[in-house]
């Protein structure tokens, strides 16, 4: 379990993180979302005891991180895949970590295997690694101590689509076996597929948090058909309120996709689009955050 309580970090007059509180429960993947510079990394570094908070506290597995006797065996941390000695080989990076944590040497090979780094890659120096390979090495590093908690900062950066898909599976599996995962991203789509809960941060503050379905699916369904009047009539018949949304000719219905699809099917209307509309809300929020940020940059 991870708990952040009122975490705040100020650098001079600039407040990087402002009163951030959230919890990550065992068995869940929490997506930590926000545009670049929103304070995600600073928050994660505070949780890991690397950055002293100006105010607030954070605990991991019930204790402040710096109070964990052997953190690597309880928490797998990947904060920056590029923060590895360029002159060490991939295998050596893990061997050093294994020696530090007191993990048997043979687990190094297993960890490399698990993230898909083969023998040739393991013998190469990190200098020659692509960002995707560094992410894989970083993930192997985080998993090496068989932790029950993972804290990952932008782990999908530099991974190819296949790699991202693989990582989602790995994290989902980790959580389903009772693990706790906190992963950050600046892309909503990236965490949407794997997260159970979302914490959205902008300008150092938490602007939204809750279950993914609650945040993404709460505001209805977007539906479109070539026979628009027919679709309207069908929805009317089913007693579903619909409104035109935007300029693309789709309708926004305040009901779940199940009900909307059924109503259309009953009336024999062929749909060209049917999806939860709620993410539009979060995406809108996200866009606003980014715009505010850009505006602030411009003023500065």
């Amino acid at each position: 379990m991870i708990a952040a309580e009122h975490l705040t970090k100020r650098y001079g007059r600039h407040t990087a993180v402002d009163d951030v509180s959230f919890r990550c429960e065992p068995g869940t993947v929490t997506g930590f979302l926000g545009p670049n510079g929103a304070g995600k990394s600073t928050t994660m570094r505070m949780i890991c005891g690397l950055t002293p908070p100006t105010a607030g506290t954070a605990t991991v597995a019930g204790r402040p991180y710096r109070g964990l006797p052997n953190p690597g065996r309880e928490v797998g941390v990947l904060l920056d895949a590029s923060a590895q000695h360029a002159g060490r080989t991939g295998r050596e990076v893990l061997t050093v970590a294994a020696a530090t944590m007191g993990v048997e040497r043979r687990k190094v090979a297993a960890a490399l295997d698990r993230v898909g780094l083969d023998g040739a890659a393991a013998r190469r120096r990190v200098r020659a690694y692509s960002l995707g390979m560094r992410q894989r090495l970083g993930l192997a590093h985080a998993l090496l101590g068989d932790p029950r908690i993972l804290i990952l900062d932008e782990p999908a950066n530099g991974l190819d689509p296949e790699g991202i898909f693989w990582m989602r599976g790995l994290l989902r599996d980790f959580a389903d076996r009772g693990g706790t995962v906190l992963l950050s991203s600046h892309l909503l789509r990236e965490v949407e597929a794997v997260a159970d809960r979302l914490v959205v941060i902008g300008g150092g503050r938490v602007v939204a948090q809750g279950g993914k379905d609650e945040l993404l699916g709460g505001t209805g369904t977007r539906v479109r058909a070539r026979d628009l009047p027919g679709l309207r009539r069908a929805l009317d018949t089913a007693g579903l309120a619909a409104a035109a949304s935007g300029t693309d000719g789709s309708l926004l219905v305040s009901a779940g996709p199940d009900a909307v699809g059924q109503a259309a099917a009953d009336a024999g209307i062929a749909l060209t689009e049917l999806r939860p509309a709620g993410d539009g809300g979060l995406e809108q929020l996200f866009l606003t955050l980014t715009t505010v940020d850009t505006a602030r940059e411009a003023v500065r």
Binding site: C48, P69, D80, A83, A99, T100
Partner: protein, 263 residues
């Protein structure tokens, strides 16, 4: 499994975490490994060993026969090592920051003072190893005098070896202290080489500084330690100079490293 076991938890954690933290012994082993596991580190260690051997060879060729003794070979080989050991000390500390491995190192061992302690022990062991290398090279040189016709005198005072050890350990720790204080490789190397030298130059140049320089210029306070005989006064001078150039930067650097934000 012996005895009764409590009911298994509903969600089985993959592995019971090791409760004890890493011992200082284990951390020292890790730090020793890190001194040698990069190309730069391995080359630095190899260079120290190679230069030691090269100097003995040079002496065999060019030194007067009478000076080709075990003790002379030994003392002569200390000088270049004394230059490179501080660099080793500096790199062991600053490498974590320049290569940004501090992020993983201190995430695995949040009690940073333990990592620092392990580093200090590791570089001290490296200094001891350098003395052994010097002794080994001197021994080979002395054996070789059988062919070159040198004096080949095996006598060496135990105190000379001890003094050499003190100087080399002080050198490597001074480097580490500078590294801790400045946390930046080029800055620490330049600072380490420049500041004491500046002292030497100023101390020689400016008359009122000449007195204090005898106590503060490590170049001068270390000089007597390349001989078997050191007086109590000379020990005191070394002590004072090391207080200024080793203990103070070490403590200030330790404080800085403990408080610094790792990013």
């Amino acid at each position: 499994m012996t005895g009764t076991t409590a009911a298994a938890p509903a969600v089985a954690p993959p592995a019971p975490p090791e409760v004890r933290g890493p011992s200082l012994l284990r951390l020292t082993g890790v730090e020793l490994r890190k001194l040698a596991d990069t190309r730069a580190g391995a080359w630095l260690l190899a260079t120290i060993a190679l230069i030691t051997v090269a100097l003995v060879v040079a002496q065999l060729i060019w030194a007067p026969d009478a000076d080709q003794t075990f003790a002379a070979f030994f003392v002569f080989s200390l000088l270049p090592t004394g230059f490179l050991l501080p660099v080793l000390g500096i790199l062991s500390v600053t490498g974590e920051w320049s290569q940004r491995t501090a992020l993983t190192t201190y995430a695995l061992v949040p009690r940073r003072e333990r990592v620092i302690a392990a580093k200090l022990v590791a570089v001290t062991l490296a200094a001891v190893a350098s003395i052994l290398t010097s002794l080994g090279a001197a021994a080979i040189g002395t054996l070789a005098t059988g062919f070159t016709g040198g004096a080949g005198d095996w006598r060496i005072e135990g105190s000379l070896v001890l003094h050499a050890l003190v100087i080399q350990v002080a050198n490597v720790l001074m480097g580490a202290a500078f590294g801790l204080l400045l946390l930046n490789t080029p800055l620490a190397i330049v600072g380490f080489l420049l500041l004491p030298t500046l002292w030497s130059v100023l101390g020689g140049l400016i008359r009122p500084l000449r007195g204090p320089a005898g106590w503060l210029d490590t170049g001068r306070t270390m000089e007597p330690f390349f001989t078997p005989d050191v007086t109590a006064g000379q020990w005191a001078r070394l002590g004072v100079s090391l207080l200024v150039w080793l203990v103070v930067p070490l403590l200030a650097g330790l404080l800085r490293t403990l408080r610094r934000e790792v990013a």
